[in-house]
């Protein structure tokens, strides 16, 4: 049997409900009151019509004009059954629009077959990454289970809500109204399109869709039109959420979380086998059949940065590296529960080097990190800076701050909001007319747990440690999102 994403559709969906152990019951009694941070996975019941945000700190940066689109789960619980894993809530597209110093927030749920079916039943029944689903599920294709909840891509004048096991879901960039699942070519209908497409220096977009030990490589133009799609065989059937790319290469990191059995939820199909180590596969964009495999000791990951090649052929890319898959399996459930201790350890910022002679090494830092981001003007090209969220690992889950790492000096600078904020991914927005890496803003939200509302922050990359240069507050808290993109 070929281990693959197709088992997403083949597994026995009706699994029994989780059995409560005495330990779980005791823990629940001990922490009966939901923690402050549970706002991060609270349910949003309705769409948010466009509403002004209030400038509560600093001054709006002159020249910062555009829209931050962000996606992430926004609804988890229904009376007849609920999502049990953070990755499986209904996709909620948010728009933070900044014009002439004013910020406007709107948010709209992706109108998916999954959400329609579950709204009609008033029960979450569809299997997902970590949610088993039940016999009431209605899944005739990948896209019937598509939560459209992970990331967002700009495609011409549209935006695409991305999941990782199905098609992009096209939305109107102005109204956030759902329009259609995107079929890039009739014979490729329903092929997976993952949540982390990468823009190349030539303006084209590369993405992948994973299917066991096979992967479809998508190559699109800037408007989202298909240039080419090819299927490649990889050395192992590993779960991966992201890939990296240089100007000339695609890089697949194959952690030792490998397919072992069919069944649902999807994550239950994989077994953590650290003895296998982690493989890094480098593929030539110009000749996808040309593949080189590097070996590293075992680590886990969700997110990689863009890569670059140096003059001698050395390739480097940054990432948030974990020790194992405890977060993916168990930690993300705690976030939906909104209470209880967080198992496992947070991931750390690291840099991987692939040498021309076939050796590979990973340089780990002691900085906790997720959502590594680089200067989009340098995507696939040499750069010094990585920005990322930070501060996780204290008394509660989820980041409390952000930081920038300069790989040329080995120094990190950061800003921490403290335990009263859940800090979300920040995107890198270059200042117009400027070229240096530090000539950029970081824009992204946090949930202020003290005031119970979502805030939007702008930082100057050159002075992150000074805190936000502008902060706008909404009059509502949105649950924490996953990934965003800036449209200037």
């Amino acid at each position: 049997m070929t281990p693959s994403r197709r088992h997403f559709l083949l597994g026995a969906a009706a699994l029994s409900a989780a059995v409560a152990t005495p330990e779980m019951v005791r823990a629940a009694i001990a922490q009966d009151v939901a923690a402050d941070w549970s706002l991060a996975a609270a349910d949003l019941e309705t769409d948010i019509a466009p509403r002004a945000m209030r400038l509560i700190h600093g001054r709006a940066p002159v020249g910062l004009q555009g829209t931050l689109f962000r996606n992430g789960p926004g609804k988890f619980r229904r009376p007849g059954g609920s999502v049990t894993h953070w990755f499986d809530g209904d996709g909620l597209m948010r728009s933070f629009d900044i014009r002439d110093g004013h910020a406007t927030l709107s948010a709209r749920f992706a109108d998916t077959p999954k959400r329609r079916h579950e709204a009609a039943l008033d029960a979450v029944v569809t299997p997902g990454f970590g949610t088993p689903g039940d016999a009431r599920a209605r899944v005739g294709s990948n896209d019937d289970a598509n939560a459209a909840n992970t990331a967002v891509m700009v495609a011409g004048d549209k935006i695409w809500a991305l999941w990782e096991g199905g098609s992009p879901l096209e939305m109107d960039a102005g109204t956030l109204a759902t329009e259609r699942f995107v079929t890039l070519r009739a014979d490729l209908r329903g092929m997976p399109f993952q949540a982390h497409p990468r823009r190349a220096p030539d303006g084209t977009i590369w993405n992948v869709g994973s299917h066991g030990d096979r992967v479809v490589v998508w190559h699109l133009d800037a408007a989202g039109g298909l240039i080419d799609a090819r299927v490649l065989d990889l050395p192992r059937a590993s779960y991966f959420h992201d890939f990296a790319a240089t100007d000339r290469h695609l890089i697949f990191v194959l952690q030792p979380w490998v397919f072992e059995r069919t069944g649902m939820p999807f994550s239950s199909q994989f077994a953590w086998k650290p003895e296998m180590g982690t493989q890094v596969v480098m593929v030539d964009k110009a000749d996808l059949g040309r593949m080189r495999v590097f070996d590293l000791p075992a680590f886990s990951f969700f997110h990689l940065g863009d890569g670059w090649a140096e003059a001698d052929g050395t390739i480097r890319f940054d990432l948030a590296a974990g020790k194992d898959v405890t977060f993916a399996v168990d930690g993300a459930k705690v976030i939906v529960q909104g209470r209880g201790p967080m198992p496992g350890e947070p991931s750390h910022l690291a840099l991987i080097t692939l040498r021309p002679d076939g050796r590979a090494e990973m340089t780990a830092t002691d900085v906790t990190a997720e959502f590594p981001k680089g200067d989009p003007r340098r995507a696939g090209l040499k750069r010094d800076l990585t920005v990322h969220v930070a501060g996780e690992g204290g008394g509660r889950p989820l980041p409390t701050g952000l930081a920038v790492r300069d790989w040329s000096t080995g120094r990190s600078h950061g800003f921490d909001f403290g335990e009263t904020h859940v800090v979300e991914e920040m995107v890198f927005v270059p200042k117009s007319g400027a070229t240096a890496e530090r000539d950029a803003w970081l824009v992204g939200p946090s949930i202020n747990l003290k005031t119970g509302v979502t805030e939007l922050h702008a930082f100057d990359v050159a002075g992150i440690e000074d805190g936000p240069i502008a902060t706008w507050a909404a009059d509502v808290a949105l649950p924490a999102g996953f990934h965003g993109v800036w449209k200037g």
């Binding site: 197709r6 559709l9 083949l10 294709s141 009739a186 209908r189 329903g190």
Partner: protein, 143 residues
Amino acid sequence: MTRFVHIAAAALMISTAAHAEPDVTQTSLALTFDVGADTGRIMVALFDSAEAYAGRGAPVAQSMVDVAAGQRGAAFSDLKPGTYAAKIFHDVDGDGQMDTNPFGMPTEPYAFTNNARGNMGPAGWDRANVTVTGAVVQTISLK
């Protein structure tokens, strides 16, 4: 080929010999198709038992709808009163096959009576069966 696709494709690979006239009588099932493409043809196989529907018996009737020629419906008349379920697929490119993508998933629309969806596979008899005692009409989405 995956089990899912195998079942879906095999179940829907039905003969194109029969062509029902849209003549609705006392005990009948009329299906109207809401299509996403105006090309090719729609194949319909009608079963009168869970056993046959599951692949352990022949369809009680079949129909081919010439979409390219403007047809959008199939009618099965003079049925014995009872329960029935149909498997339907739109052969958009008219090549006689249910096409699949490189990962084995169907790329041409398929459906079942009641617009039933399966649970990680084709809809079962329990979801697709229709009680036909008079003239029953359904609109089936093939988009």
